[in-house]
């Protein structure tokens, strides 16, 4: 018997293994490897091995001594080509603006330079090497791991006295996170306001009517988000149907700008995400019998009290599940804001894409992705906990 059990388990694992390995290799490992880029500093440390080994001994105040200048000169001469120099410059520029030109000028200067490397030679090529601030950056970044990008995605940086906020004119990401959260909250609330009556009517109608309504909710649910966003662009454009109808009705004189702004984002995202709220809410509402509400009404409770004290608590799990689902999905939205939003309406996903494909800053892309993933995972964990607790209570 025990042997049969063991065999059963073995076969089970053999059946699960292909998916497990596939998902690990093509899904989990890529995400893990990518997220590690948020703290990864090997590109920099690997490009300047001699300098990094020396710079720990420097006091951070005075001009570094000759051996450190020598090390830096040797590291720069050892760079294989101008592409390597450019990527080193770009990397250091993340810490201090202007570093890119410093690196490039030093690299090309050293190529033409003859004679001994060292303090004199480097300062002759670029005077900025006599400024300890530029050396402090290298000293600060001498470890294989760097908090630079994670701090930067929260508008923070490392100063001489520890972590501090960056100057207001360069701040960007806290604003972005707040905007992302705000758009998601607004869309969630809109979905709740629209979805609640719809789900309620679906659940309280007869089986025939309710299954027809279900089909009408499932239709957009199955249709690709891109197609639905496209449809909204067509409807909301300057001479689109919505503006035409409003003008015909005499409600407006000139076409409204309904798209490429925040309003367009709210409309299209609410439309796309509404089924995700209606479906779970509907299934909970359908499970709630009318017995308790009838009993409460029979005992003399006014309808508003019945609704608030009896009905609402019963459907609360559906509201929580639907709202969390919509909120979490909205947090990561990319396509819809990209197509119907303006530059000021882009969410965190847009910047992850931007840092990946336009500015090729893996550190920032991975940091923002890490923050987004953390928010999503925390919310899901909280939801699982909540729903789990609810089940316990029901028992």
């Amino acid at each position: 018997m025990e042997r049969a059990d063991r065999r059963r388990e073995l076969v089970g694992w053999l059946l699960v293994a292909p998916s497990l390995l596939f998902m690990a290799f093509f899904f989990a490992v890529p995400i893990g490897a990518f997220l590690l880029r948020s703290v990864d500093n090997t590109d920099l440390v690997g490009a300047m091995p001699r300098t990094m080994a020396e710079i720990g001994g420097w006091n951070g105040q005075d001009l570094p001594d000759e051996s450190l200048f020598m090390a830096l000169g040797e590291d720069f001469t050892a760079l294989p080509d101008i592409t390597a120099a450019a990527s080193l410059g770009r990397r250091l520029n993340h810490n201090l603006t202007g570093y890119r030109s410093l690196v490039m000028r030093t690299f090309t200067g050293l190529r033409r330079h003859e004679g001994p490397l060292g303090r004199e030679a480097l300062i002759a090529i670029d005077k900025r090497w006599s400024d300890p601030a530029h050396w402090r950056v290298i000293q600060q970044e001498r470890s294989w791991l760097t908090p630079l990008y994670l701090l930067a995605s929260l508008d923070l940086e490392r100063g001489p006295e520890g972590i501090r906020t960056i100057p207001p004119e360069r701040r960007l990401f806290v604003d972005l996170l707040v905007r992302t959260a705000w758009i998601s909250i607004a869309v969630t609330l809109l979905c709740l306001v629209l979805g609640f009556p719809l789900a309620y009517v679906m659940a309280s109608s007869g089986p025939r009517l309710s299954s027809w309504m279900l089909v009408l909710v499932l239709l957009p649910f199955w249709t690709s988000l891109l197609v639905r966003t496209t449809a909204w662009i067509v409807l909301l454009q300057r001479n689109g149907l919505v503006n035409q109808v409003l003008e015909r009705l005499g409600l407006i004189d000139a076409p409204l700008t309904l798209i490429y702004n925040r309003l367009g984002v709210y409309i299209a995202m609410t439309h796309v995400l509404l089924p995700f709220l209606v479906l779970p809410l509907y299934s909970v509402m359908k499970g709630v019998g009318g017995d308790l509400t009838r009993a409460a009404a029979g005992l003399g409770a006014p309808p508003s009290t019945v609704f608030r004290r009896v009905y609402l608590p019963q459907v609360m799990p559906g509201i929580i599940a639907g709202c969390s689902l919509v909120f979490v999905l909205a947090l990561g939205y990319y396509i819809t804001p990209a197509l119907v939003g303006g530059p000021r309406d882009q969410m965190i996903a847009h910047f992850i894409a931007y840092f990946t494909s336009t500015s090729v800053n893996w550190g920032m892309a991975a940091s923002l992705a890490g923050i987004l993933l953390l928010m999503v995972v925390v919310l899901y964990a909280a939801l699982a906990r909540l729903v789990g607790l609810d089940r316990l209570k029901a028992r």
Binding site: G12, S19, F26, W222, S224, R228, Q244, L339, A353
Partner: protein, 275 residues
């Protein structure tokens, strides 16, 4: 005493009536954008506005003859079909395995297999771009197929798992007691009973890949431009009726898949209901 209940029921009736009307309006708004675009794709003019100057199939003709759109349609099929086969096979095996296992690790494994439903696709897309380029499969068909398969597996696992939960294990025991070999029992009892679930899992996998855009944006090269990818660049360049035609084609595929899935669900219920 006489007036109060009446008043309450009048308010109640009004609220109820109001809710019904609101629900109806919301339902119309939910479906309207997709309905409205259908006549626009049949316009004889060049603008996507009402009233239509006349009806014509010219934009569908353009869609089905213009090289970019034809190639995109082919690419979508070339990627979605292998994805469907791969995801359905792997996902069905996994669901069967999960159902067999008694291990304490089962919940963790199940959660791991559905993480693509939780992780925002943008994170997966840029990660795939980053990692697949090291494997040398960015800008290749296998790269996209593997990428889409990972997104599709959870749907198959969930669908087949739901079917297996309703599966009456006594039937399998009966077959074994009556002398069937485990292989025969699987082929003649288990498989026919879970087949509708497997097929609807496959439909989910197909539509996941066929409609996928974000991963495609990062992992595909121009050579692997799919229909959603082509639509995406079309929407950003100029909104013309060919785009409406493409959107309608994509929508029709979705509706077809939805109807098939619904039919399969009913079949599945019927077969399992017979027990």
């Amino acid at each position: 005493m006489a007036g109060a209940p009446n008043q309450a029921s009048l308010v109640e009736r009004l609220v109820f009536r109001g809710t019904r009307i609101a629900a109806l309006v919301i339902l119309v708004v939910l479906v309207a954008p997709m309905i409205v675009i259908v006549p626009l794709s049949l316009t004889s003019g060049t603008l996507l506005i009402y009233p239509l100057p006349g009806l014509s199939g010219r934009w569908y003709e353009e869609f089905f003859t213009e090289r970019l759109w034809v190639q995109a349609t082919w690419n979508s099929v070339l990627i979605a079909v292998p994805t469907t086969v791969l995801a359905t096979t792997l996902g069905t095996f996994a669901a069967l395995g999960l159902n067999r296992l008694r291990s304490r690790l089962v919940p963790a494994v199940a959660v791991f297999l559905i993480t693509p439903l939780i992780v925002p696709v943008i994170i997966y897309a840029v990660s795939a771009f980053y990692f697949y380029s090291r494997l040398g499969i960015v800008g290749t068909y296998p790269g996209l197929i593997f990428g889409h398969t990972a997104l599709a597996i959870p749907f198959v696992v969930v669908t087949v798992n739901a079917t297996l939960k309703n599966f009456d294990a006594n039937l399998l025991r009966a077959a074994l007691v009556l002398g069937a070999t485990p292989r025969q029992a699987f082929a003649r009892v288990t498989l026919p009973l879970i087949l509708p679930g497997v097929l609807s899992g496959g439909l989910f996998a197909f539509i996941t890949s066929f409609d996928e855009l974000i991963l495609t944006l990062f992992v595909a090269s121009p050579e692997q431009r799919t229909l959603p990818r082509q639509l995406w660049s079309g929407v950003q360049e100029t909104i013309n009726p060919t785009i409406a035609a493409a959107a309608v084609v994509l929508m029709l595929v979705s509706v077809l898949v939805m109807l098939l899935a619904e039919w399969l669900r009913r079949q599945g219920r019927r077969i399992q209901g017979k027990q």
